[in-house]
């Protein structure tokens, strides 16, 4: 075991992969409690798939990949915050439409360029092992923005998730903060796509908070728990990935699913125990 850990932490691949992976784990854990509290998990599915359109655009117009994808994802997330309110379409249906539409655009754009340019498997399922220094800079910049927004608005967002009407009546600029929340979720999603890929990103943004939900009793409580689950899941997943040569994103999501099952079973057992007393 000790040998394995030694090998794991000393391998050059992991030394490159661990910093961005842990940074993303920290950011996603923090945002995931907002995603779950605001019931925005479908938004993260929508935005992550929509980022394919951004990647398609970047490939077609030879723009830098991550920035273009980030801009597209944020634009789509903001559109989803504005569109349903104005036109009387519910958020669910709006997400479904934009999600399919932008994914279709992405597929068309990518298929019309030469195949060699795009690592499609990496895009769909993620590959943290190929983070370039440029990507790392983008992830750092994005993380700083997300952390800053959490420090400023976490409490207001929490209040809005609990009761939107009362939040507005107690003097919160709810429309503006909702837009910012959507934008920050968009940004987080793009950073995750590098780690977990388009298809698995939602897992990173839902599972940590879902694990914590059984045990948390307040916002800070949930945040600590979510952070612990996320870091353990990411580390454990990368170890699996290293040991068995599994794709890193999938291994992390699987580890988080295992943690969720344990957390759920433990809370069920606790309930049974309390009932029997």
């Amino acid at each position: 075991m000790i040998d394995f850990l030694n090998q794991f932490f000393n391998s050059p691949v992991m030394q490159d992969a661990l910093p961005p992976a842990l940074l993303i784990a920290f950011i996603t854990a923090s945002m995931s409690i907002m995603v779950v509290a605001h019931r925005l998990s479908f938004l993260t599915v929508g935005v992550s798939h929509a980022s394919l359109a951004g990647l398609g655009l970047a490939v077609a117009l030879s723009l830098p990949l991550l920035p273009t994808a980030a801009a597209t994802a944020i634009a789509i997330a903001l559109l989803l915050a504005v569109l349903p309110n104005r036109q009387g379409i519910n958020e669910d249906a709006g997400t479904g439409m934009l999600f399919a539409g932008s994914m279709a655009l992405g597929v068309v754009l990518i298929s019309s360029t030469s195949r060699n340019e795009v690592d499609l498997f990496g895009l769909l399922f993620g590959n943290i092992l190929t983070v370039s220094p440029d990507d790392m800079q983008w992830i750092m910049g994005g993380s700083i923005l997300v952390v800053f927004s959490i420090i400023l608005w976490a409490k207001s967002w929490w209040s809005m998730a609990f009761d939107m009407i009362t939040a507005k009546a107690s003097g919160i600029a709810t429309s503006r903060l909702r837009l910012i929340l959507h934008g920050m979720i968009g940004l987080t999603v793009v950073m995750c796509v590098k780690l977990a890929g388009i298809v698995l990103t939602t897992g990173l943004l839902v599972l940590p908070a879902a694990c914590a939900w059984f045990w948390g009793r307040s916002m800070f409580n949930l945040w600590w728990l979510s952070l612990s689950f996320s870091l353990v899941g990411t580390l454990g997943g990368l170890m699996w990935s290293y040991q068995y040569d599994w794709p890193s994103g999938a291994a992390i999501i699987l580890m988080l699913c295992v943690l969720f099952t344990i957390s759920w079973a433990a809370s069920w057992l606790k309930q049974q125990y309390q009932k029997s007393r």
Binding site: A37, H38, R39, I150, I151, L152, W153, A154, K155, S156, W158, S159, A161, F162, D163, I165, T166, A167, K168, A169, S170, G171, I172, A173, W213, G216, R217, S218, M219, N221, L222
Partner: protein, 284 residues
């Protein structure tokens, strides 16, 4: 005369041809407890959302605490308003203790996280305890909000509205989830807050008979203000008919309450049993 807490002049909401509220003017002084009654769809809740700054009226002017309510002043005016709405059907499933729910009502809550490092925790704690004591929920302070009954949740929400010690309290059917002893306690508490803290309360209720011995006045609303009865005045039968329709069956009430005494000629015409303690509005 001191500035009124609420001053509405010619407020309209909805299209000019088919307004939801029309030509509404109203002044409410400090320390006044007003009940608002009216049939379903009369615009009672809309009126509260307009005063709370949640909905913009299509015409007219609103002053709160002597300051004009508009998009620029909304947030600072709202610091002095406590508001309890009635759309609690789909509350999300967030783990929160009663204490945290009430904390969200403090005006200092919506601040950046670093604010928490410098805040006066003891004062906040006392304010929260006090608000929960008022609604008799202090023994549940560490309970998970989701595990409370509907009535208990309603009382915690009321504590959340009260914790900032608002000058103006807007309540939309606050008694909906409460049993009748609890309702009485609630009205008594509101009366006390008006008398002792000079708080102004505007409360939408359906049951005029239940509130009448506590409030200072009753406003009858159906698109327009049909009548505004002060303590000791009656609401004429025509007003009831105008509000609820021709087929309303007016039942006489305990003579001591506002708005419920039948006027003398109706009293003889409609041979109803006296002292019966509820209204029968057969509206659709």
């Amino acid at each position: 005369m001191s500035t009124p807490i609420i001053s509405l002049s010619h407020v309209r909401f909805g299209p000019a041809k088919k307004p939801i509220l029309d030509n509404l003017s109203l002044e409410v002084p400090a320390g006044h407890f007003m009940g608002i009654i009216g049939p379903n769809g009369a615009g009672k809740s809309t009126l509260l959302t307009i005063i709370a700054g949640l909905t913009k009226p299509d015409a007219g002017h609103i002053d709160l605490f002597g300051r004009c309510l508009n998009s620029k002043t909304r947030i600072s005016l709202q610091e002095n308003i406590g508001y309890l709405h009635q759309k609690h059907a789909n509350q999300p499933d967030i783990p929160m203790r009663v204490y945290d729910v009430v904390t969200m009502g403090l005006t200092s809550f919506n601040q950046p996280l670093w604010h928490g490092l410098f805040a006066d925790k003891q004062a906040e704690k006392e304010a929260i305890h006090h608000a929960l004591t008022l609604v008799e929920m202090d023994s549940h302070i560490h309970t998970d909000f989701r595990n409370l009954s509907g009535g208990q949740q309603q009382r915690v929400r009321l504590a959340r509205a009260l914790v900032r010690q608002p000058k103006l309290l807007l309540l939309d059917e606050p008694s909906a989830a409460l049993d009748s002893p609890r309702q009485e306690k609630l009205y008594k508490l509101l009366r006390k807050l008006c008398d002792e803290n000079n708080m102004t309360v505007l409360m939408v209720e359906h049951d005029v008979a239940a509130i009448t011995s506590y409030v200072d006045s009753v406003a009858c609303l159906n698109k327009q203000m049909h009548h505004h009865a002060k303590k000791g005045e009656t609401i004429p039968d025509e007003v009831w008919r105008e509000m609820y329709g021709e087929h309303v069956n007016i039942v006489a009430h305990d003579a001591s309450c506002i708005g419920c005494m039948p006027s003398p000629q109706n009293h003889s015409q409609e041979q109803h049993s006296q002292k019966q303690h509820n209204h029968e509005h057969h509206h659709d």
